[in-house]
């Protein structure tokens, strides 16, 4: 049996998140790429930003070395964001991109939620996918980058979502 939206575990997660705040991205191995995206739920005011620090593993695939979120959201939204970010941290970009609404509900212990609140639960996964899509389009699909990833390329798709200027990274 699933859990309801008023389950204490949801409120607990939202009030005591592990992955909220971009200070969390300080330290650790210097990422090769930082992917960022933001999104909102148009009807209720939820706004989330997701930042992903990406590194290439020895086998060559891109992985999410570190991740964090921040923003304004209801309890469901914040709990879902924390659960999603926890899940994708350390995983490959492909695994992370597969996170959807159903996966998010599973990560929250089998959450059962109606249509009117689905958007609150799904926002983090949607924003995550935007960040990953932009990163994949601009740098990953072509395999090893043929240009200096530290140089800003005007006119590249996803400029808004992908910040490749390590020298001026700010969290």
């Amino acid at each position: 049996m699933g859990i309801r939206i008023d389950d204490p575990s949801i409120e607990l997660r939202a009030k005591h998140p592990h992955y909220r705040g971009f200070d969390l991205l300080q330290g650790g191995k210097t990422p090769e790429m930082l992917a960022t995206a933001a999104g909102e739920n148009p009807f209720c005011g939820d706004e989330l930003e997701v930042r992903l620090a990406l590194c290439r593993a020895e086998a060559g695939e891109w992985r999410i070395a570190q991740a964090a979120f921040d923003g304004y959201g209801c309890t469901l939204c914040l709990a879902a964001a924390d659960a999603v970010i926890e899940y994708v941290t350390g995983r490959s970009v492909d695994e992370a991109a597969a996170v959807d609404f159903e996966r998010t509900c599973a990560l929250l212990g089998g959450l059962e939620v109606g249509r009117t609140r689905k958007g609150c639960v799904d926002l983090a996964a949607r924003v995550l996918r935007v960040a990953l899509d932009e990163a994949r389009e601009t740098c990953l699909l072509a395999g090893p980058p043929s240009v200096d990833i530290y140089a800003k390329s005007a006119g590249m798709p996803g400029e808004k979502a992908v910040d490749r200027r390590l020298a001026s990274l700010s969290y």
Partner: protein
């Protein structure tokens, strides 16, 4: 005030017998009438009766049922004209709701009447339905859009309006009653009059006021007035656009097809005469017929009585909520009565969480932007919780709302 005497008899609303909550143990406290009003049994019966006895298409066919259906549909049009003070029923276009009505004004009139560079002015307290159609039109036609901003209190900025008036706007979009701010804008009538005197067409969204207070379209002096049946006790899926004589002449059909064309052949088409030109396809006949029953209900209750009742409840809610620590009522600094709704925030608690907590107590409210983001931005709120009242609402329900919010407020501060 509540001695059991209310404009609407609660016994006529079957849904009010429902028990809600996880175990069905709580009475239903419905405070979301601004989203959609509850439907009484007589209105339900009117729809069912039509479907059971006269279910046929209208303006078509030559049989008895078609005649009955057409008569019933047109009776609603005539009744709306009388009820809202439109001299000719032909200037009442039946639509699928206020949103379609406003889009009809935009695409059916403004599209062909405004030119590149013309200025549209939009009041910032409007619902998105009286904003987006004008923004879309501006994109298509290269029109300019300017706003009558709101002050921090939520009042239309009259100085800003005076500056806009000098720019000779061609169309001004106004809201008769905000779906977020409870009070009626004191400068609304003057702005509408000045706009018209300056040669602008005035489009007014009446979705939250039609059926809540007496409205006389001719006295209002606007060109387009939009409303929805389900906001006044009718069914969803039907509404109306009241049109002044001068804009009716230049109103053009937006949807083409059956019922709206007098002639169609290989060379082209010609619009049907009258409002049917703007009512393409089969309209929501049963819902329109049922709307007549909702109007009868309003007439029996008396709009003045309905307005007084909801105003008293809204003011009670405003006072009760404003007294709670951490609770902020949007528009509370304006010294005018709240007519039928109260929007508020509870500290930093997300409105969805407030709504969820109230829902657990059986209190049904709206949480979010209410399709009115500019209003929230003007008031410095990301979103809000809205409680709204109707002729069947009670003082006890207001007390339940305030009590539930008080508990939440205390829990947040603890």
């Amino acid at each position: 005030m509540d001695n059991g005497s209310r404009p609407f008899d609660r016994a006529r609303y079957p849904i009010l017998k429902r028990r809600v909550g996880v175990h069905g143990g709580r009475p239903l406290i419905y405070l979301d009438s601004a989203a959609t009003a509850l439907v009484s049994q007589p209105v339900i019966d009117a729809q069912v009766r039509f479907l059971q006895t006269s279910c046929a298409n209208i303006h078509r066919g030559a049989h008895q049922l078609a005649e009955e259906a057409t008569d019933a549909f047109e009776r609603t049009r005539e009744q709306l004209a009388t009820f809202f003070g439109v001299v000719e029923p032909e200037r009442v276009v039946l639509t699928h709701g206020a949103t379609e009505s406003l889009n009809l004004a935009a695409r059916g009139w403004a599209e062909g009447s405004l030119c590149e560079g013309d200025l549209i002015v939009i009041a910032a307290d409007n619902h998105h339905s009286n904003i987006v159609p004008w923004q879309m039109l501006a994109e298509r036609k290269g029109l300019s859009v300017a706003w009558i901003p709101l002050t921090e209190e939520g009042l239309l900025d009259e100085d800003a309006w005076a500056r806009l008036l000098v720019r000779a706007p061609k169309l001004v979009a106004l809201c008769q009653q905000s779906n977020v701010l409870g009070f009626r804008q004191p400068s609304l009538a003057r702005i509408a009059a000045e706009a018209r005197e300056a040669g602008a067409v005035v489009v007014m969204d009446g979705a939250q006021s039609a059926g809540h207070e007496p409205v006389d379209f001719e006295e209002l002096g606007v060109d387009f007035y939009a409303m929805s049946a389900h906001k006044m006790g009718g069914l969803t899926g039907v509404g109306a656009l009241l049109c002044s004589s001068r804009v009716m002449e230049d109103l053009r059909p937006v949807y083409g097809g059956g019922g709206m064309a007098a002639r169609v052949d290989a060379s082209g088409w010609r619009a049907a005469p009258g409002p049917e030109a703007f009512e393409a396809g089969t309209p929501p006949i049963a819902a329109a017929v049922a709307w007549s029953a909702a109007i009868d209900q309003l007439k029996a209750a008396g709009l003045e009585a309905v307005a007084a009742h909801t105003r008293a409840l809204a003011e009670r809610a405003r006072a009760g909520l404003s007294a709670l620590p951490g609770v902020s009522v949007l528009g509370h600094r304006v010294p005018r009565p709240f007519e039928s709704l109260v929007s508020f925030t509870v500290g930093e608690v997300h409105p969805h969480d407030v709504g969820q907590a109230l829902d657990a107590a059986g209190v049904m409210v709206r949480a979010g932007h209410h399709c009115a983001r500019p209003v929230h931005q003007a008031c410095g709120a990301r979103a809000s919780v809205r409680a709204s009242f109707a002729g069947y609402s009670t003082e006890e329900e207001v007390e339940a709302l305030v009590s539930a919010v008080a508990q939440l407020s205390a829990a947040v501060r603890a």
